[in-house]
């Protein structure tokens, strides 16, 4: 005796075996979400190489692309973690600027040794992240609003703290100072690789390992995917959330250090694009804004795509004002693709 007498289920069962090419692509992308950004990066690289009369694929250009991506790519790691839990960090740029000013000013004004200044910067970053995490988990406010608020607050604190003045390379102890070490480079052929690029890549490796090989990583995904299911599985989702905001805060300081090496100075008005571009990198990299899906390497590819488009379009002689048009279009395509992929099996 059945309450729901229909024969439809048998038909649904049959239909599942009858996959079209599109279904297969959808399933492949569902399984390997880095595929689409990787294809975009590859194709755009080839196209720009053809359009730029050979200037784009020069090792010098590749080196510049990496350097220009380093700060944003570093910060995008924290952004990815937060977005994986279905949150967002709008304060990543101003948070980084505030910590990089702290690092610079305690070294310059208080005469703290550089290594200690970096550690203090990390503590401050950690505290900023913990503040986010505390408000999100205890007061249950949406991350969007929390970080929109702190975006302004961090910006204001940076300006007040630095009196809107730039701290010069000389004040920071010259280019051999540890504070500016991330700006040091070595050459591979004629390609310049900075320490900052290596710091960023190292961070990706560490976080990629943690996400895919530790319980913590699985709990991050589960918390973003379905917080209620995660809780019922015995995961303390508040602790997971607090931990990712703190890691993101620590990454502010790391990004701040890379920024010091990149600009060889410290200023509250630096790197204004970085805030939104981290989100762009995460989204183009195939991580879902709804949480629970995505890969950290996708974000690195997404970050590179942003820079490749900027530099590639420039070298191809396209009016600079079209750069944002191209990047905006990519975001829309990426989000549409994500929606489609998430419908897999439905």
């Amino acid at each position: 005796m059945d309450s729901n007498p229909t024969g439809e289920d048998a038909l649904v069962g049959l239909a599942q075996h009858d996959k079209t090419v599109l279904d297969r692509i959808q399933h492949a992308l569902h399984r390997y979400p880095v595929t689409s950004p990787a294809v975009v990066l590859l194709v755009s690289g080839i196209v720009f190489a053809m359009l730029s009369n050979g200037r784009f694929q020069r090792p010098e250009t590749i080196g510049i692309i990496l350097q220009q991506t380093a700060v944003m790519a570093t910060l995008a790691v924290g952004q990815t973690l937060i977005i994986l839990t279905a949150g967002i960090d709008l304060a990543v740029g101003t948070g980084m600027l505030l910590t990089h000013l702290v690092i610079a000013k305690v070294a310059v004004d208080q005469g703290v040794p550089p290594i200690l200044a970096l550690l203090i910067g990390m503590m401050v970053g950690l505290a900023l992240g913990a503040f986010h995490g505390f408000i999100v988990t205890r007061l249950q406010l949406p991350p969007f609003i929390v970080t929109l608020g702190t975006f302004y607050i961090f910006n204001s604190l940076s300006l007040v703290y630095s009196k809107a003045q730039t701290i010069s390379k000389e004040a920071l102890g010259g280019e051999n100072s540890l504070l500016l070490w991330t700006g040091k480079f070595f050459t591979v052929g004629s390609m310049r690789i900075t320490v900052g690029v290596l710091v960023a890549l190292g961070l990706y490796a560490v976080v990629a390992y943690a996400l895919s090989n530790t319980s913590w990583g699985r709990h991050v995904y589960a918390t973003g995917d379905d917080p209620e299911a995660a809780r019922l599985a015995g995961i303390n989702t508040n602790r997971v959330l607090l931990s990712i905001y703190m890691v993101a805060g620590l990454i502010y300081a790391l990004g701040g250090w890379v920024q010091l090496g990149r600009s060889l100075s410290a200023s509250a008005n630096a790197a204004t694009d970085v805030n939104l571009e981290t989100i762009t990198a995460v989204v183009i990299g195939g991580t879902s804004l709804f949480g629970g899906r995505g890969r950290i390497w996708g974000t690195l590819v997404g970050a590179l795509i942003v820079t490749v488009f900027r530099i590639g379009l420039n070298l191809a002689g396209v009016n600079v004002y079209y750069q944002n048009f191209a990047i905006g279009s990519l975001i829309l395509i990426a989000v549409a693709l994500d929606q489609w992929i998430r419908r897999v099996g439905k």
Partner: protein
């Protein structure tokens, strides 16, 4: 049933739960015996879910005591209930859709690699967990799940429920509680889940089945606990009572 001689594995005595002036549980009892499927039925607001939440640690009763194998239980969280071997499968919130089957099975109790990889680098034993996940599913006879690394959202509703049931039964648990396991499923898939419940019982694992679906309850339950107005008012069996008699007791018509 020789209830007089057998010892219940899980007992609840005099459970009371109030929400302000609303009394969700009013001196409610429950006994679950080894190797049985106990159906729990009751109208909306009869206290079924409060009763289950108390047993699974999701709710702390204001009064009353619970025992598992004679040991008194004092749960503060669902974690505590799991630690003593009471596993609950929830209707809709059972699994994380984007994660694969193996990850879901071990969610919240991941195993780490042996040696320095596990202790210092906190590396999870992915291949070992996949192997055991596969074995757990095989034991339940869920042969249709070919690929243990498949995301759960690519499975059908019945298969997802099967994964959740496998998770509940795979870790040396003593009692499995299923909350409306067939509510979202079609006919064929419900049949699979009911078969899964029988398999669990045949392996000696006692099951509590909460359901609105009378035919399903009467199909698999050995005894049926009828909850009404916050307390247990009767325990019947499919042999002694018909469905309409049970409904009459449940609604107070009898």
């Amino acid at each position: 049933m020789s209830e007089a001689t057998r010892q219940p594995i899980l007992t609840a005595k005099g459970l009371v739960k109030r929400f302000g002036r609303v009394v969700a549980l009013d001196d409610s009892d429950l006994e679950l015996y080894p190797g049985e499927v106990l159906g729990i039925i009751g109208d909306n607001g009869a206290g079924k879910s409060s009763l289950i939440k108390c047993l699974s640690g999701a709710m702390i009763p204001d009064e009353g005591t619970m025992y598992l194998e004679g040991e008194q239980l004092n749960f503060r969280s669902p974690h505590d209930a799991r630690d003593v071997g009471i596993e609950t499968v929830y209707q809709t919130l059972a699994v994380a859709p984007a994660l694969d089957i193996s990850t879901n099975l071990f969610l919240g109790r991941e195993r780490r690699r042996k040696g320095i990889l596990g202790s210092v680098f906190r590396m999870v034993d992915r291949s070992g967990m996949r192997r055991d996940a596969k074995r757990a599913l095989d034991e339940l006879g869920i042969g249709t799940l070919q690929d243990i690394t498949q995301a759960v959202e690519t499975l059908s509703g019945g298969q997802r429920q099967a994964v959740a049931v496998a998770r509940a039964s795979a870790f040396g648990s003593k009692v499995v509680i299923l909350d409306e396991p067939t509510a979202a499923l079609g006919v064929r898939e419900s049949g699979q889940v009911l078969q899964l419940i029988r398999d669990l019982r045949d392996r000696g694992l006692p099951v509590i089945l909460i359901s609105h679906n009378m035919p399903h309850v009467f199909e698999v339950a050995d005894r049926i606990h009828i909850q009404r107005l916050g307390r247990r008012i009767a325990v019947v069996t499919p042999q002694t009572h018909s469905m309409s008699e049970a409904v009459a007791i449940m609604t107070g018509a009898a």
